[in-house]
């Protein structure tokens, strides 16, 4: 097994959690984000599709889902930035007897700040789990599991997964999830009842292009201080909602392709969002061999390419749904990773980019936070 190195993290440092198909890496820098050090790999040989930093209360906890092709998926955590990990002897995220078997954990979402012991996991097969004891145990969210639509959801290329969980920071009980392929669902009562929220979102691969559900939503991003503002990257299509998902407006104006996976919103400006367009579902690579992030600063009214510091020749890259994240600094840090193992960072809202790493395993998740 590879030698694992740890990073020394001080409060106020910037962390970038990078989940790959072969383990988790932890990058840290001082608050200036001028130089990053690498920690890891943790869980070598395991796919880490989801990681999260939990700073609620006085915690400094990293959650990481590690999935072994052989031995299954486990939710782990560390309170010392990777020096020691707590790994449950038996899986804490597990389906009830007589239902299904867990295949993968796609998303880890801490609950609202006022509920520091609440934690959510979105999983494959598509389901949501909730913990109310800070991850010691989880329960299947039955309201979604028993939804009459569930039997008609179909697996996308990544399997039938619930890959996005966005908790409403302002309304207790408000949670929005995305399922491939099922679409967007929202609960306003803490998970007891769920309603499909796909009005205006296209399903190009179905006879009825605007069904109630069945869309292949790739990612949703919510603005933290304007929770009704959501952005959505669809399997063909870019959308914005200003009413918490009740309706969606097409915002694919001036992009080389509206196909893609990742979507991130600026931490302080709800008009600003970031995507990495891919050519098509048939060729899931950056168009023209140029790696470009596209940014809107007017809520999707227009998009501009950002390419300074990014390769513009022979760069047929793929950025998957969770492989982009932002920190919370005023001049935002934007981070993304590619299937070819390159990790890029911007510390100026996306104006310019530098490579933090060039040869990691395929990157499937990127999350950034202030420690």
């Amino acid at each position: 097994m590879p030698t694992t190195q740890n990073v020394q993290v001080r409060r106020g440092d910037v962390l970038v959690l990078v989940g790959t198909m072969k383990g988790l890496f932890v990058f840290r820098s001082g608050p200036d984000r001028a130089r990053f050090e690498r920690g890891g790999p943790y869980f070598p040989g395991h796919a880490v599709y989801a990681a999260a930093y939990d700073r609620r209360g006085d915690r400094q906890r990293i959650w990481a889902a590690a999935t072994s092709m052989h031995w299954g998926a486990l939710l782990n955590h560390t309170d010392d930035f990777g020096a020691t990990w707590t790994t449950p002897e038996v899986p804490t995220v597990r389906f009830p007897e007589g239902t299904k078997a867990l295949q993968n954990i796609w998303q880890i979402a801490p609950g609202r700040a006022e509920e520091p012991d609440v934690l959510y996991c979105g999983v494959e097969p598509a389901a949501l789990f909730e913990s109310r004891d800070n991850g010691k145990s989880f329960a299947l969210v039955e309201g979604l599991w028993q939804h009459p639509h569930r039997e008609k959801w179909q697996p996308g290329g990544g399997g039938l997964c619930l890959h996005t969980v966005v908790v409403d920071p302002a309304r207790k009980g408000g949670i929005t999830v995305a399922i491939s392929t099922g679409g967007v669902y929202r609960t306003d009562d803490g998970g007891r009842t769920w309603t499909a929220r796909n009005k205006g979102v296209r399903a190009q691969f179905l006879p009825d292009p605007y069904p109630e559900f069945g869309q292949c939503v790739h990612k949703i991003a919510r603005h933290p201080s304007r929770p009704d503002r959501l952005y959505l990257q669809n399997h063909w299509g870019l959308y914005r909602s200003d009413d918490g998902g009740d309706s969606w407006q097409d915002i694919a104006h001036g992009v080389p392709s509206d196909f893609g996976f990742c979507m991130a919103v600026h931490p302080h400006d709800s008009e600003t969002a970031y995507i990495v367009p891919l050519e098509s579902d048939g060729f899931r690579c950056t168009p023209e061999g140029k790696l470009r992030v596209y940014r809107t600063r007017d809520g999707g009214g227009s998009w501009q390419p950002l390419s300074e510091g990014l390769p513009q020749r022979d760069a047929f890259e793929t950025v998957v749904r969770d492989a982009m994240g932002t920190d919370q600094e005023q001049r935002a840090g934007i981070y993304f990773g590619t299937r070819s193992g390159k990790l890029f960072a911007s510390r100026d809202d996306g104006e310019s980019w530098t490579a933090l790493a060039q040869g990691l395993p395929p990157i499937v998740s990127v999350r950034a936070a202030r420690a």
């Binding site: 198909m21 040989g45 052989h70 031995w71 002897e89 899986p91 078997a101 867990l102």
Partner: protein, 93 residues
């Protein structure tokens, strides 16, 4: 009857480092033996079986030199002194 499990390296961490685990099993099948193993070493069992009690797709369970997939699965009958190997399949990427 007495059954001995042989554990591949990854699983030994969940059995206190032991490579071999010898158990007294009241029933007569591989499933019975795995249930006893789950009581003694739940971490081993959880990595071999999913939460529905099915052998994980990329895990192989051998009785002697034969895979239980070629026998009768978890219902495969055991003899006293049986040796069961829990191994990772040759798969990956």
């Amino acid at each position: 009857m007495t059954v001995t499990f042989h554990l591949t390296g990854f699983l030994r961490a969940y059995a206190g480092g032991a490579g071999d685990v010898r158990l007294e099993v009241p029933g007569g099948t591989v499933g019975d033996a795995l249930r006893v193993l789950a009581e003694r070493h739940p971490g081993v069992s959880a990595r071999v079986l999913d939460e529905q009690g099915v052998v994980r797709r990329h895990v192989n369970v051998f009785v002697g030199s034969q895979s239980i997939r070629d026998l009768n699965g978890l219902a495969t009958a055991l003899r006293d002194g049986a040796e069961i190997s829990l191994l990772a399949a040759v798969s990956g990427g």
